[in-house]
């Protein structure tokens, strides 16, 4: 990818750098939202959960701001080639980040519900484990974005498989709990909702990785297998 700061128009450099930075800022905020939501759920911390729910508007307003900035760049600069791909990927990335924010809010809502339930013996270990992995995945996806690193992007996209497996594990576990003791049904359902939200976050993180590859290589790697994705990235690098 061409460096952003080499346009003849300095203002254009600034505009593009600006949306790139705002995405990272939005990413940082979203990461924090996930972390707080998981902690709130695991620790039964209602105050923290409420804070996550209240903070979601910040994620939303960043999405609107960045969207508007992208509109401006398209209207004024008619970006081409790598610049065009950057703007397109930013528009897509912020949609995924906003949805991640919504999922974090969902987890926080489950945390509020679960705080009223009796705590399980394992202290929501399954959510903690899945949550940590998902959080790392989001972090690494944003890292790949920041460094425009396609190799890292493919690796992180691959992590989604592991997340999906862990999610299935949580589902099986919850079904077992519910069969063994119907009194746990309410709690188990809440946990399932939270796990589902985490699994969705993993999908969004994978999307971001795909956009990184599109931006750098100009190749659309959506809806293809991980193996094909590796091949696409390996070529011409």
């Amino acid at each position: 990818m061409e460096p952003l700061d080499t346009h003849i128009s300095r203002q254009y450099n600034v505009d593009l750098e600006n949306i790139r930075t705002l995405v990272l800022q939005m990413g940082g905020l979203v990461e924090q939202q996930i972390e707080h939501a998981i902690t709130a759920l695991v620790q039964g911390n209602v105050t923290l959960a409420d804070a996550v729910i209240v903070t979601d508007y910040k994620v939303n307003s960043l999405e609107v701001t960045i969207d508007e900035d992208c509109n401006q760049i398209i209207a004024r600069r008619q970006p081409a080639a790598g610049d065009l791909r950057l703007v397109l990927m930013v528009i897509k990335t912020i949609t995924d980040l906003e949805r991640i924010g919504d999922e974090a809010e969902k987890i926080a809502r489950m945390a509020v519900q679960l705080a009223n339930e009796e705590r399980p013996k394992n202290n929501y270990m399954e959510i903690q484990t899945l949550g940590t992995h998902v959080r790392h995945m989001v972090h690494n996806a944003l890292d790949a974005y920041a460094r425009m690193d396609t190799i890292a992007a493919v690796r992180v996209a691959g992590d989604d498989r592991q997340i999906d497996k862990e999610y299935e594990g949580v589902m099986r576990q919850m079904i077992t709990f519910m069969m063994e003791d119907p009194r746990t049904i309410t709690r188990a359902l809440h946990v399932m909702w939270a796990a589902r939200a985490l699994e969705r976050i993993g999908d969004h993180a994978r999307n971001i990785c795909e956009y990184v590859i599109y931006q750098v290589k100009g190749k659309d790697v959506r809806h293809i297998s991980l193996e094909q994705m590796k091949k696409e990235v390996g070529e011409g690098s």
Binding site: I8, P79, A80, A81, L84, G218
Partner: protein, 263 residues
């Protein structure tokens, strides 16, 4: 040069430059150009000033013959005849009948609207009034000008607006039923509305003729063309379908140019 596209994928070819070199006296302005022009498609030539795109365009109708010391080397094939139009035995006048040209600034003759369009036909020896009327109307309609000038065919061409004059020049070129049309920055002297109407006209013309267009306006190349060649320092750096050039060019020099970076 990087060719991202094979001639096979382009369908029928109308013309093709093969190992073309061109010299203004000692100065070599074009270096080993190989470029295929697809039939009834629009091919755009883009590149910074002095890159040789206009020089290249002018080779197609032997414009350089008008000045001494200019020298061609290599071939420009015209299909389906399979003749090299640069060959010394080929009559440049005949080439210009078959390959019309429209310039940056509208340059109508100091004659009436009618006579501007009829000029090429008279040179061809057509003098039958009815036939001339018919051909003039057809050319003016082809250039989307007929409705605006049908009542002022006898007024001087200079009385038309800039955009109309340019369409008149297009009609003049169309009158001899050319197989190919060359446009050298056809809209750089026009306002956005006139530009849009010329672009629309070019898009319609490709149903009948093959078009090669030089433009400084990259968005124009992106809007109207099917294929784009990026030229730099007398060479074709990259040639591909327009979509690829503007979303994912293979060469760094192309990307730098179309994204407005220091080359």
């Amino acid at each position: 040069m990087s060719e991202n596209i094979t001639a096979n994928a382009m369908g029928l070819l109308k013309s093709e430059a093969k190992s073309l070199n061109f010299y203004y006296g000692e100065y070599q302005a074009l270096k080993n150009i190989n470029l295929a022009v697809a039939e009834k498609r629009i091919t755009a030539l883009i590149g910074p000033s002095g890159c040789g795109k206009s020089t290249f365009l002018r080779c197609f109708n032997r414009m350089h013959d008008l000045y001494p010391g200019n020298r061609y080397d290599g071939e420009i094939m015209l299909y389906p005849d399979d003749v090299n139009i640069l060959h010394a035995k080929i009559d440049p006048i005949e080439v210009r009948m078959r390959i019309g040209m429209v310039f940056q600034k509208p340059n109508p003759f100091p004659k009436t609207v009618y006579e501007n369009v009829a000029y090429g036909l008279r040179v061809r020896g057509i003098s039958n009034r009815r036939k001339l009327d018919e051909k003039v109307e057809k050319a003016l309609r082809g250039a989307a000008l007929w409705n605006e000038v049908k009542d002022r065919l006898t007024s001087l061409a200079f009385n038309l607006s800039g955009g109309q004059q340019q369409r008149l020049c297009i009609a003049r070129a169309l009158a001899t039923d050319p197989e190919m049309m060359l446009f050298d920055e056809p809209t750089s002297a026009l306002d956005p509305i006139a530009t849009a109407s010329i672009e629309e006209l070019i898009a319609q013309l490709k149903e009948q003729v093959t078009i090669l267009i030089v433009t400084h306006n990259m968005q124009q190349a992106a809007r109207v063309s099917d294929y784009t060649a990026f030229m730099h320092m007398g060479e074709v750096v990259e040639f591909s379908d327009t979509n690829t050039i503007f979303t994912n060019p293979a060469q760094k020099r192309t990307e730098d140019y179309i994204t407005g970076r220091y080359g």
